[in-house]
Amino acid sequence: MALTREQMAMRVARELEDGFYVNLGIGIPTLVANYIPDGIDVMLQSENGLLGMGRFPTEAEVDPDMINAGKQTVTARHGAAIFSSAESFAMIRGGHVDLTVLGAFEVDQHGNIASWMIPGKLIKGMGGAMDLVAGAENIICTMTHASKHGESKLLEQCNLPLTGAGCINRVLTDLAYLEIKDGAFHLKERAPGVSVEEIQELTAGKLVVPDHVPEMTFEA
């Protein structure tokens, strides 16, 4: 069975380590915050200038001066720091964020990612995504393995305009967890009940399959 969005978030959460500074993109990545394992503390970076994003505010706590990069009202947690956009991207571009999780339209076996622009459709902009993929050393892409029409999104070469070149090391799809290195996708885990053949079928890029591909687990 393909993973649900929640299961994807749970699986990504297992990659969190105690003391990580993490930037979570919009969508599934945001859900990861709900599944932080017990005994692990991570600090969420929001690129509008907040390190240590807390929970959403109660009605009484709502403050227009306190938002996250998704423009949602938010709170700051204990030990948070707030700063300018230049400082925020100094952190991001200087490689100080330990893990970035973001969505994508396509990734390819060279670690390229396309996530911001579909020619012919209205383009709203890349926001901080290009900075995040260029700056982080440790990036997990979350995405569906293929389109609704069964077209693979894990490609030999991205078709869409890139967000970043050669920067993605890990991909979690609804079918599999993969690492990208040496010009190939390396299959590490498969979603429970999904066969290697199924994954192979829906992976257009070069796929390296080890002898044993364990099923994913979601506990920390």
Binding site: F56, P64, Q72, S85, F89, M117, L122, T163
Partner: protein
């Protein structure tokens, strides 16, 4: 102390000198920390053909979105736009030119402009459409593109508190692009919620030193919230 008293007492005075065709750098992220009254004054004046540098372009009827109503903006450098119908329409009609700029590059261009750095290298955008036509150079085995900085005719900024010397502090995430914009204007205008007595702001806790600021005005603010998100409390 007349020389350093930067207070002005009307928005008309605050935006004195702005003309059609000028470049305006604006602070704010979404609708958070935007110089809402300075924007309204630009609207009131009806100046046209503005080039705007701002992370976003407001929403229909608020923030920079107001300047779309009379087509006052010809070109905008932003990282994320199109949160409003008017913007999309003008973009599709080629009535507004959009120069999409990665958010960190946008921030750094302002910071560099204010700091006398004409250009810098960044990995952001290398190998993407943003890097096309830009110089690529390798440092320590990685590829970077050259990005030039920006200085505006005006910078419009929203602060929290300021003193008459133009020293400004920002509140929480309303800081965002504001201190960067403040450094990059030939004329920098800051509107704040409160002008405090000199000495109230601790010297080593000032976000924008007064040297960058030409005019300070105290205003009142709607501070509209774009995405009110709450939990049960």
């Amino acid at each position: 102390m007349a020389g350093f008293d930067k207070r002005v007492y009307s928005y008309e005075e605050a935006m004195d000198g702005i003309e059609s065709g000028m470049t305006v750098i604006a602070g704010g992220f979404g609708l958070c920390g935007i110089p809402e009254n300075l924007i309204s004054e630009i609207k009131r004046r009806g100046v046209k053909d503005l080039t705007v540098w701002s992370n976003n372009c407001g929403v229909d009827g608020f923030g920079l979105g107001l300047l779309l109503e009379d087509k006052q903006i010809s070109r905008i450098h932003a990282s994320y736009v199109g949160e409003n119908a008017l913007f999309e329409q003008q973009m599709l009609n080629d009535e507004i030119e959009v120069v999409l700029t990665p958010q960190g590059t946008l921030a750094e261009k302002m910071r560099a402009g204010g700091a006398g750095i004409p250009a810098f290298y960044t990995a952001t955008g290398y190998g993407t459409p943003i890097g096309e036509g830009k110089e690529v150079r390798e440092f320590n085995g990685r590829h970077y593109i050259l990005e030039e900085s920006v200085v505006g005719d005006f910078a419009i900024v929203k602060g929290w508190k300021a003193d008459r010397y133009g020293n400004v502090v920002y509140r929480d995430t309303a800081q965002n692009f504001n201190p960067l914009a403040a450094t990059a204007g030939k004329i920098t205008v800051v509107e704040v919620e409160e002008i405090v007595e000199p000495g109230e702001l601790k010297p080593d806790q000032i976000h924008t030193p007064g040297i960058y600021v030409d005019r300070i005005i105290q205003g009142s603010f709607e501070k509209r919230i774009e995405k009110r998100t709450v939990r049960e409390g």
